[in-house]
Amino acid sequence: MSAPTTAPRAPRTTAPKAPRPAPRRRIALLPSAALLLGALYCLLPVAWVVVAATKAGDELFSTFTFAPGTGLLENLGDLNAYRDGIYWRWMLNSLLYAGLGALLSCAVSALAGYALAIYRFPGREAFFNVLLAGVLMPPVILAVPTYLLLAEANLTDSHLAVLLPVLLSPYGIYLARIYAAAAVPNDVVEAARMDGSGEWRIFRAVALPMMLPGLVTIFLFQFVAIWNNFLLPYIMLSDDEKFPITLGLFTLLNQGSNTPALYTLVITGALLAVLPLIALFLFIQRFWSLDLLSGAVKS
């Protein structure tokens, strides 16, 4: 590492054309190619949907897969006009479910994770383990009885039916506990206590700012989980004014088997639904580390 810094000071006697000291390590060709291939495989469907959204209805099944078409503006116009723009309604619903749900879920996780990390109290591990066991429960198995229970409370087919069951995230609490344990030193909590701060004040004014980077991760994780959720709205909702984007596109695809004209709408809709999340990730990864997602905390 120190070799290049000394190079400029080399005496003039060395031939100027002499090979630079220690050429940068050779590129491992085969592994690099393998990585590139993996990247291309992952980009393939996304690249296709970008191209396919430009194809007019008759081009979709006749031109080569990656040949751009001529109908992008028309497709966008059709999507916008479809049932008075219900597509945008679905996008807004998804934004509401994912945004509000992730925010509240993040708050619940932060509170619980903080309590589990900072306090010692009887039943702490038992509570944590029972929560984690919740991860193992297949969503359908919860969703069917939840549907029946919410039906008795007259809450099915409402925004709340999709919002409430996603607020508790065992994985979010697990992450919050790790972040709180790593980011909030016990001495600081003790010191704040000595100063006479109440427990709630300590949490809000001292611990919360320290946990913030981790909480952003939980928010993103939950946002993606809710945005991607299909089963819960599929079971809970029947009024398509309340559908999130996943369910909306699914019903469009379902109707497409009778009216193939809808396929171009489905594809254009899929492109527009995928873009915001991809943009969000590209934007956010500049100042947020993916590692946090698996609970890795830099010491």
Binding site: S32, P138, L249, S257, A273
Partner: protein, 328 residues
């Protein structure tokens, strides 16, 4: 039926008790013994309402059945009665459910090894020096995580159609026969590919994070001893990230058992996926199309028990292994 409101009342009682305790403690200025319970209250309430209560209700429904009274006319014609284990007996002998279980096993036998193998492979590539384009590769492979499973299934579903698929296009021009991916055995591969595409990136990040936690000195020592990159990966890196491999394996198995979105989304594009292709699809079908919530409940309890048994059995084996490694 009346178990639910009682439980709900009990929850709110818990909350208020915890809240008053917190307040009292603050006034006294002690360390706040009740505070953790106050902080945990929202999570506890949500857990009771949306985990414990539904599970209890499913258990209750699974041992009940609807009996027809008299002529079976009108709302009074049907009543719920105790059914014992009849629903379970029916679920366990249901050939459609068993077939579904086998289909999911076959599907999982492709998804889990391929997805985790690729995730480990790419994670090792990201961790190796001399590999170019690591930043781009990491982002691109992680990208599918941001694509909802339903949309992923939809995109791949179109790409599988002979009139859209680029592979078909090329094979046609060469005059070669192309397989129909949406039927028979290839259908498993087609479904597995969607899950592999969607899941590899996340698992790769988990494993990569663990790889980066290995101290540099360990690699350096091995390199000085003359180990090649490949040997370092095989002998040092993989054993050291074994815990995260176990974790990703565990979550992949659970996710596989719960497969629902992908086959459901592909159904409009092919006639070869039944509405009961996977066990969870059967639960949905029984509950919402067949209207038989009691056998749906029994089936869900069976699936939940199998998942739990697998999970705990697996964790035990993993823990036992870890302990024997440590004691060595």
């Amino acid at each position: 039926m009346n178990g639910r409101p009682d439980a709900a009342k009990a929850d709110t009682a818990d909350v208020s008790v915890a809240a008053t305790r917190t307040r009292a403690n603050r006034r006294r200025g002690t360390g706040g013994r009740g505070a953790p319970f106050g902080f945990l209250a929202p999570a506890a309430v949500l857990f009771l309402l949306f985990f414990a209560l539904p599970i209890g209700y499913a258990l209750y429904l699974s041992v009940r059945k609807v009996q027809i009274v008299g002529l079976g006319l009108g709302a009074d014609g049907r009543e719920e009665v105790w059914a014992g284990l009849a629903n379970y007996r029916r679920a366990l002998t249901d050939s459609e459910l068993l077939d579904g279980a086998f289909r999911v096993l076959g599907y999982g036998a492709i998804v889990v090894p391929v997805m985790l193998g690729l995730a480990l492979f790419f994670a090792l590539l990201l961790d190796a020096d001399r590999v170019r384009g690591r930043r781009f590769g990491r982002l691109a492979i992680f990208l599918p995580y941001a694509v909802p499973g339903v949309i992923a299934a939809l995109l791949w579903g179109f790409l599988y159609l002979p009139s859209v698929s680029p592979v078909h296009d090329v094979l046609d021009r060469l005059g070669l026969p192309a397989p129909d991916l949406l039927q028979g055995t290839p259908l498993y591969g087609a479904l597995a590919n969607i899950a592999i595409w969607g899941g590899t990136g996340f698992n790769m990040i988990v494993i990569y994070t663990a790889l980066r936690a290995i101290p540099v000195e360990v690699h350096e020592a091995a390199r000085l001893d003359g180990c090649s990159q490949f040997q370092i990966a095989l002998r040092i890196k993989i054993p050291m990230v074994l815990p995260s491999l176990v974790l990703t394996f565990f979550f992949s198995i659970i996710a596989t058992l719960q497969v629902f979105n992908e086959p459901t989304t592909l159904r409009p594009l092919t006639n070869n996926l039944s509405t009961t292709w996977s066990p969870l699809m059967k639960v949905y079908e029984d509950a919402f199309t067949g209207g038989d919530i009691h056998s749906a409940a029994a089936t869900s309890v069976v699936i939940a028990l199998v998942t739990l048994a697998l999970s705990f059995g697996f964790l035990r084996i993993a823990n036992a292994r870890n302990r024997s490694e440590e004691s060595r």
